[in-house]
Symmetry: C2
Subunit: 330 residues, 2 copies
């Protein structure tokens, strides 16, 4: 790695929009090395990257594999850059540690956006746990916003729990769906439908327009069964075709209206405060576990104690309490 600039120059370079420095800063954030983390902390502080950035907008985008998330982001993103928006595209994909970056890793999937000077695309960080991956993505949002990318799109795979993690770092959540009402709620967990502020039936083109309309009607009905959102926003169901570039303006218009609605009733700011609180708690408990398991006395006692637990000599609960007591007295 080339030598890094001193923190003030580093921060200034990022603020000026230097993409190479931004990339290197994200690499620092993603590193598990303690010295890199300290540098990343200093940089984020210098950038005041976590100060309330009320002029930015963070959108989570999810949907089952095959629903066309990349094409949707490519089309939406190029529409936005054409209007002069700076757009960052990030991803949270816990499966990428196996498949080495299955989403956004292959930038050719977003041919136009990946060479667009107003767009910045970063694949999912690798990591051992979804929690770790999500924390790094949250820090990366702060960095790209400091670099002037005021619209941040966060892609997530439509399976497992990454949606919940992404929901906790965005202002609006978009669920992409396939045409065909028969295909309905089964592939997608009800909890994910409940999180969505906007449902978009993609691939509404050619022969599929009728099916897409059926799906829209189906989801509109299904939404009535869900409890009202705390944001006071009524989720909408739209249809679009990302490949034919139709319906995307309406998608963005709905997101703009969502912003207006939640900013004016105070939910936008309140939600961000809660999210900051959540990430603080989350980071704290992660730091606590790391400190605990790397503590020499814990390391020394833990193995013997686990053996006792597995042989049944001691209850797992008594073992945990006695280990904690010993540490606190020590």
């Amino acid at each position: 790695m080339r030598a890094l600039p001193a923190i003030p120059e580093f921060a200034e370079g990022i603020r000026q929009g230097d993409r190479v420095l931004l990339g290197r800063a994200i690499t620092l954030v993603e590193s598990t090395n303690a010295a890199h983390q300290a540098l990343a902390d200093a940089l984020l502080t210098a950038l005041q990257a976590f100060a309330p950035a009320n002029d930015t907008f963070r959108v989570g985008i999810t949907g089952s594999p095959g629903v066309g998330k990349s094409t949707f982001i490519e089309t939406l993103g190029t529409n936005l850059t054409a209007q002069g928006h700076k757009v960052a595209v990030l991803a949270v994909d816990p499966s990428s540690r196996v498949s080495h970056g299955s989403i956004l890793g292959d930038k050719t999937r977003m041919e136009q956006l990946s060479v667009d000077p107003l767009a910045f695309i970063r694949p999912s960080p690798a990591g051992e746990t979804l929690g770790g991956i999500a924390r790094k993505t949250r820090e990366t949002i702060a960095l790209v916003e400091a670099a002037g990318y005021h619209t941040v799109l966060v892609e997530t795979v439509g399976v497992g729990q990454s949606e919940t993690a992404v929901h906790r770092m965005v202002d609006a959540f978009v669920l992409l769906l396939l045409p065909g009402a028969g295909d309905d709620l089964q592939g997608i967990k009800r909890g994910i439908v409940e999180m969505a502020d906007l449902l978009v039936v993609n691939k509404s083109d050619g022969d599929r327009v009728r099916l897409a309309n059926q799906a829209r009607a189906h989801y509109l009905n299904a939404l009535h069964l869900f409890p009202a959102k705390e944001s006071g926003w009524t989720p909408r169901v739209l249809a679009c075709s990302a490949t034919e570039k139709s319906g995307l303006a309406e998608v963005w218009q709905a997101l703009v209206e969502f912003q207006t609605h939640t900013r004016s009733n105070g939910f936008f700011a309140e939600n961000r405060r809660r999210q900051a609180h959540y990430w603080f708690q989350d980071a704290l408990e992660q730091a606590l576990r790391t400190a605990f398991y790397s503590h020499p006395e814990v390391k020394a006692r833990l193995q013997a104690m686990e053996k006792d637990v597995l042989s049944g000599t001691v209850s797992p609960f008594a073992a945990a309490r006695s280990l904690m007591d010993a540490l606190l007295k020590g």
Copy 2:
């Protein structure tokens, strides 16, 4: 509370099947008072309650509200006690802190079983978190087994995450379903269907027999789409009517075959070892969080730090790391 007997007598009384002492022991386990917990630990150790109890069988039972879980447990339980089995019925219901024991709380729901001398019924412990409730239930299993209840049925509400917690403390997992194929997977999360070793369509009686058979066929088909189980067991789909007391013998027969299968291939014991390991880790991390948040220095710093995090002066991640550093140096 009347004075408790000394630990040796207490343990001996439970081993002899004294139901009053067993009830008082469970109350100790459920208490959040540190002295009660220390007594419970000593009692569990004296009982060797966590030693491998290979002659016991733990069955989790779940299903949507209205599927007839109580009647199913009542009928299955009385069948078993009629054969001389001692049966304990426990419950995990995180909603009970609101509704004050919604499942099993009303013992009249199991009229026969609640007065059966071979049965012991205990409602869900109250608690602030699902984790806490589940830990207490896991300790209660150890107590009832020590008191000679070799069959333990653990009921869980068919919503939310309590199924996963119960799945981690049982040998076999039964999912109850309603007749009617149209009612299919939508109400029940796919992950819960995947956990089940046995699916039972209840209320298969009168006009509903045909619908129940449709549902059976539907679920048999759906199961083909799921990955093979690590236990090597192929989940079965049965039908029964708990109110008409039909089909319950086949349900128990399938569970006996499940036991034979998993005991002979070693999965039964391996699964219990993994579960003991899981509960140790879980208890450890809970004890760690409790110790951390009640630490005076943490209490003192945390509030100021949270304010900085919420105002954006410091990143949540940097704040967490610096708090941990300060503690470890101190």
